[in-house]
Symmetry: C2
Subunit: 350 residues, 2 copies
């Protein structure tokens, strides 16, 4: 029987009991508060996990790139939200194709994006649901105020092939309610209703019920957790499901160790944390630096130190890029290998 100790390192492993519990716990919260759960598949990029989320009660899934959505549609998912400004002739032709086999919702924050989406919808001969992306302080994409949101909603509503479906925001933050209310008030005069309000971020996942306007939610990292999610109070360390097992390959000095997992396994995401991951067996050790294939560990504050050849378990800073760096993820039940999942939507960039 394959066990975690027989896996070649570095390897990304998922504790299946924790994964299942994380999926169930958040779905239960969503059900209790009547929130439609649209989990973000970018965290795992694995159709089998998306299927677990759907089986638990998810209303649909989110994909951050059209190519990810194509993978999920290939795997039989037919309710897909792509909260991304889709632009460009080839991409819009692919969008039109995807509309033939899945019910899509997309987002837009400009008239340029809306014009392209309308073109794709007419090419597909179907109606495409479009949410207006709103910047409620996250300073990512999004219209800047209710006036801009209402103007773009009108443009969508007036575009043949498109249906104005509502508003989309990231993250979950206090300005959201006033933004939604302001937009609703402006659009009421036009007889345009704001149907759906979608918010997102794993950080805010247990506060959604405090935002009465939010009817659907996009969280990704809740299934795995990571140091960043712990720091934001959304998950406990003993609930985290994804780890990278690495081997100590060098002990150049008494206070330094080098592991065989670098930025190619853990990513360079520092996420405002101290170090590039937590070594569970040596919590006082600091992963102070990553090169591509090595983690450089400062053991100066660690009473115990590992030996060359010893295997250690790293909780990553940010789980999503780890998924994108491994071709496969190993699912463990206890110490036994139960499943090996190809990361089917890994590297899907376009």
């Amino acid at each position: 029987m394959n066990t975690r100790d027989t896996l070649e390192t570095p390897v990304a492993v998922v504790n299946l009991d924790r994964l299942e519990a994380n999926i169930a716990r958040f779905q239960q919260y969503c059900d209790q508060h009547q929130i439609a759960n649209w989990p973000h598949s970018k965290t795992h990029k694995i159709p089998a996990i998306a299927a677990m989320q759907r089986a638990a009660g998810a209303a649909g899934i989110c994909c951050q790139k059209l190519s990810e959505a194509e993978v999920m549609a290939d795997a039989g998912f037919d309710q897909i939200c792509i909260p991304y400004n889709l632009l460009g002739e080839q991409r819009l032709a692919r969008l039109a194709n995807l509309m033939q086999r899945a019910t899509l919702t997309v987002s837009a924050d400009s008239a340029e994006t809306v014009a392209g989406l309308g073109h794709a919808a007419r090419l597909a001969g179907r109606t495409l649901a479009v949410l207006v992306e709103c910047d409620i302080g996250g300073q990512r994409c999004g219209v800047q105020n209710p006036e801009e949101a209402a103007a773009l909603a009108r443009t969508i509503a007036a575009t043949p092939g498109l249906a104005f479906a509502g508003l989309l925001a990231y993250p979950l933050a206090p300005p959201l309610e006033a933004f939604v209310a302001g937009t609703r008030a402006i659009l009421a005069a036009d007889g345009i209703s704001v149907g759906r309000v979608s918010a997102g971020s794993t950080a805010g996942m247990w506060q959604i019920h405090e935002y009465p306007s939010v009817g659907e939610y996009r969280a990704g990292m809740y299934i795995y957790g990571d140091r960043g999610t712990i720091a934001r109070g959304a998950i406990a360390q003993q609930e985290c499901a994804l780890h990278v097992i690495a081997t100590v390959v060098s002990r150049p000095t008494p206070t330094r160790a080098v592991l065989d997992a670098g930025s190619k396994a853990l990513s360079s995401d520092i996420s405002g944390l101290a170090g590039y991951g937590l070594i569970l067996e040596y919590p006082d050790a600091l992963i102070e630096k990553l090169s591509e294939e090595h983690a450089h560990v400062d053991l100066g504050s660690s009473a115990r130190t590992p030996q060359i050849g010893e295997r250690v378990t790293i909780l990553p800073n940010h789980c999503c890029p780890v998924s994108n760096l491994f071709d496969q993820i190993v699912g463990l039940r206890g110490d036994a290998v139960e499943v090996i999942w190809p990361v089917a939507a890994r590297g899907k960039l376009v």
Copy 2:
């Protein structure tokens, strides 16, 4: 004809004229100074580019993981250096297999690694060349002083199946010469000679001739270049060959733009630079933040600003992780697509 303007974004493109010139220029320098060129294939992970390096005169290639070396051996490369402590039963069994079809050099910095290598060599029934990795100040792997180097060299020389081949260091730095001389002096008493001295780092590639002990060199990034290599004075911007083409997908405010290339395309490597890449068309713009699928650009200091849908060309901070994030790299001759290379050794972690 496919051109750069018809490629879906984000896409990693290589200017073939510059690539060829970079390969030729460094090989010429190595030839002039009688330095054996062992280019590091981790930068490109593409057998066709390794073949260009070999055709230009490289003595062999370097791979940073055994799995990368397996890919290169599959592609017919038979002189491969793996400057890595290879440990673990499965890995050593794979090493023994690889020894049947390629002449390998590996490195070690501990008796534990040497013992495993000896086991692999005896399994293979062949002699394995082992370099002692020396830490000359880089604080990565490596023995700490000539005494440790000499002790490990003796252990290698005394291990059946292994041949002590010399010393290996990273980066190229002034302590190297004294380290080598000190080790040679100690080993002379045992009748053990330090055959090869291998140094590395693209940053030092034009100073190798100032280090008389160095007979072979491992540089990787010289073929592509990037902002980090420019900052270290080893390449000029107009010589850089690898770029990521992205599309502006949002202009949320007059001073902000959002591109469709995030950390999944550019990596989060900040490399001590300002911003996560240089936008060639808008050199005063600052890529201040990356999310996975978006670059967030501050246009506050840029007199001109891009429009939604416009394509821009990004010079990455660090070219190696970019290679690892794309399944394929597009080779351009001028604006025409001449070749599309699968990144055959992408994601090879074990």
